[in-house]
């Protein structure tokens, strides 16, 4: 059974599911309770579960994230909301120095079943300090799991998996898509980490993305289709663990690949994708792997500059045409 729901509803449903099933689950964050959450993800939960489980906290990201790590070490399962991921830099010390590593440097004596979630990415003129896509930043650190679901079904299924995971999970939501709708399976639809999703099948070129850029790739695929080229679109959805096989299988079929990301190109996920393809599918390639990324500048405010700073459909279709040795448009 499936029902049409928004990304927001699906996300909330997963948290409610686990709040109901597991006493050790608590939600924590700025303005998530009385206020209902700045993105209304947790609206109404405070009244239902009370202040001990839906915890409003002061503006002190480093402090409350660290406290959540401590709770997790004691067997609680905190789900921390970063009002936006931009504020997680304040908590990065706790996330990287404690959450990611305490299991290792304690010789396996403790676990950190912690989820940190919130909207990731830019695109609505929030300018430099509020425009970040943090997947490679967090993906860099062993000990963290990093996921970025884009469909309502995946956001629910992956949140269920995240809360049950005994490790710290960086849960990067497509903030711009909270209101978008899709089919969501009823009940427990846990989606495993480390398994990419083929969002569109095709035989001529593989477009690889995650988060909001998956939708961009799907639009680009439609445009390419008008010219007679069928693109396969792969939604990575889980970045650590990472599904190499799905990419390799696709490239063995299409012989061409374009990796798309919103974040800056240097040291990013797309570079990792390109490296994996040349490692494992070198002989299948008919063209060098292309990367499409955000411009190497802090997020600008002005609309025209911001649009230039983000990957566009045209950039994706042209990158695809380049690997197909076709004329750019």
């Amino acid at each position: 059974m499936a029902e049409t729901k928004t990304y927001r509803e699906a996300l909330r449903e997963a948290m409610v599911h686990e709040l109901d099933n597991d006493e050790s689950v608590v939600l924590m964050g700025e303005d998530i309770g009385v206020y209902g959450g700045t993105h209304l993800i947790t609206d109404g939960l405070y009244d239902e579960y009370g202040p001990n489980r839906i915890m409003d906290v002061p503006i002190s990201e480093n402090g409350f994230t660290g406290a959540a790590v401590g709770m997790a070490m004691m067997g609680m399962r905190p789900v921390v909301e970063m009002m936006t991921w931009n504020f997680s830099f304040l908590a990065a010390d706790q996330i990287i120095q404690n959450a990611a590593k305490v299991r290792y440097f304690s010789g396996g004596q403790v676990e950190v079943p912690l989820v940190i979630r919130g909207p990731n990415g830019g695109g609505v003129q929030l300018s430099a300090q509020h425009t970040h896509s943090l997947e490679s930043f967090y993906g860099h650190f062993p000990g963290l799991k990093v996921v970025a679901p884009v469909t309502p079904n995946d956001v629910k299924g992956m949140m269920l998996t995240a809360i049950r995971d005994p490790n710290p999970v960086i849960f990067l939501e497509a903030g711009a898509l909270y209101g978008t709708k899709g089919e969501v399976e009823e009940g427990d639809n846990a989606v495993p980490f480390g398994k990419a999703r083929v969002a569109r099948e095709g035989s001529d070129v593989t477009l690889i993305a995650y988060g909001r850029q998956v939708n961009l790739c799907l639009r680009a695929a439609d445009t390419l289709s008008e010219d007679g080229f069928e693109a396969e679109v792969i939604d990575l959805r889980s970045l650590r663990p990472f599904d190499e096989d799905t990419i390799v299988e696709s490239v063995e079929k299409t012989h061409r690949a374009v990796a798309v990301q919103e974040q800056w190109r240097w040291f990013g996920v797309a570079s990792e994708v390109a490296a994996i393809i040349q490692d494992r599918a070198f002989d299948s390639l008919d063209a060098p792997v292309e990367r499409v990324s955000g411009a190497e500048v802090p997020g600008p405010y002005a609309r025209n500059l911001e649009l230039m700073a983000f990957p566009s459909e045209k950039q994706v279709t042209n990158a695809a045409r380049r690997v197909l040795y076709e004329e750019e448009k």
Binding site: V34, V124, Q129, Y301, N304
Partner: protein, 354 residues
């Protein structure tokens, strides 16, 4: 609160209800009124621009809090510096930034105060002393302390006015920076005036719900910084405190903190639709003490200006802001080459390659 008796230009000494004496000539009060009316008109135009989709991103207006920055910036002297968070339009206007350029910034135009690159939260006018608006709560506080240190290191007698919200005081950055200020201030090396704009809420969370010790001024005790509170809705009280305290900070090189008790009658930001964290009655009560309304009342009561004259001042402000809106609307977006400028300083041209 220690309020000294001071004589106003016209020789009169007025007494506030709480016994503190304030001295404001009629002329000056009218001038303060004019400044606050300009801010109010600007902020209302911003709200309209946001609704029309002309302004993007986040928008935080200063409605209700005008007396705070207006009062404190009366004590601003050339060479002083001001730093604040994202609720920064008033600070720019009061320091003399052209309303046209400020509005153009919000409209994302190349003629904007920071070329359309920062928007509402990041107003800078370094020439006039504004060291910026910042978007990460608490993030600017250490900068302000460093700026103050630099002033003494560079052997000037300038001071820094460092504005912060009640919510920002929960951040580690605040506590670390206040500690540094106290420490450096011992040697007279940190002329920093902390101005806590306590508007009772950080977004939807009241002060009572963020700290078990709600006397915000007294938190500075922990760092050896003297402090007091001021009625942030009463512009004359703010001016009195500001001038006295700024002088002291300038002379001693020691930090000082003032908690201004104020209220934003507007929503937190443009996306704060429901405001279910406070009651309509509470907002109404504070509207009664609207800083602009209180001055109007006083000007009428003292027969300084009548309703018509007040309206004339408000209309003048609105006209000036209307010109700013038109300027912003008609200006061009930043040229595309601006995308890669200002990323790095120095002679080398940057084109986006690492």
């Amino acid at each position: 609160m220690s309020a000294e008796n001071e004589h106003s230009e016209d020789g009169g000494v007025e007494t506030r209800e709480d016994g503190g004496a304030i001295a404001t000539s009629s002329e000056r009060l009218v001038d303060l009124y004019r400044q606050m009316a300009l801010i109010r008109a600007f902020e209302e135009a911003c709200q309209k621009g946001f609704r029309q989709g002309k302004i993007g991103g986040y928008l935080h207006v200063y409605i209700g809090q005008e007396a705070v920055a207006t009062g404190f910036l009366q004590a601003f002297e050339e060479g002083d510096r001001v730093i604040t968070a994202y609720r920064d339009h008033a600070h720019a206007l009061l320091l003399g930034s052209d309303p046209k350029e400020v509005m153009a910034e919000l409209y994302g135009k190349g003629t904007g105060l920071v070329k359309g690159k920062g928007g509402s939260m990041h107003l800078f006018d370094v020439e006039r002393g504004l060291m910026g608006g910042y978007g990460i709560v608490g993030g600017h506080i250490p900068l302000g302390v460093g700026i103050a240190y630099a002033m003494r290191y560079q052997e000037t007698d300038h001071i820094t006015q460092l504005y912060l919200g009640d919510g920002a005081m929960s951040q580690g950055a605040f506590h670390e920076a206040a500690n540094l200020a106290g420490l450096w201030g011992r040697e007279g090396q940190c002329p920093c005036l902390f101005i806590v704009e306590n508007n009772k809420y950080g977004m939807g969370t009241s002060v009572e719900r963020t700290t078990a010790m709600t006397d915000l001024a007294a938190k500075f005790d922990a760092y050896g910084i003297e402090h007091e509170k001021v009625d942030g809705m009463d512009v004359e009280a703010v001016v009195e405190a500001a001038e006295r305290v700024a002088e002291q900070v300038r002379e001693t090189g020691k930090p000082y903190a003032i908690e201004a008790l104020t209220y934003r009658t507007a929503p937190h930001g443009a996306a704060d639709f429901f405001e279910n964290y406070r009651t309509k009655e509470e907002i109404e009560e504070w509207r009664e003490r609207d800083p602009i309304g209180m001055v109007e009342h006083k000007l009428i009561e003292n027969d300084v200006l009548d309703e018509d004259k007040l309206e004339e001042i408000r209309d003048e402000a609105k006209e000036r802001i209307q010109e700013a809106v038109e300027f912003a609307d008609e200006s061009d977006e930043p040229p595309e080459e601006e995308l890669y400028t200002d990323v790095y300083a120095g002679e080398d041209e940057y084109t986006g390659e690492a």
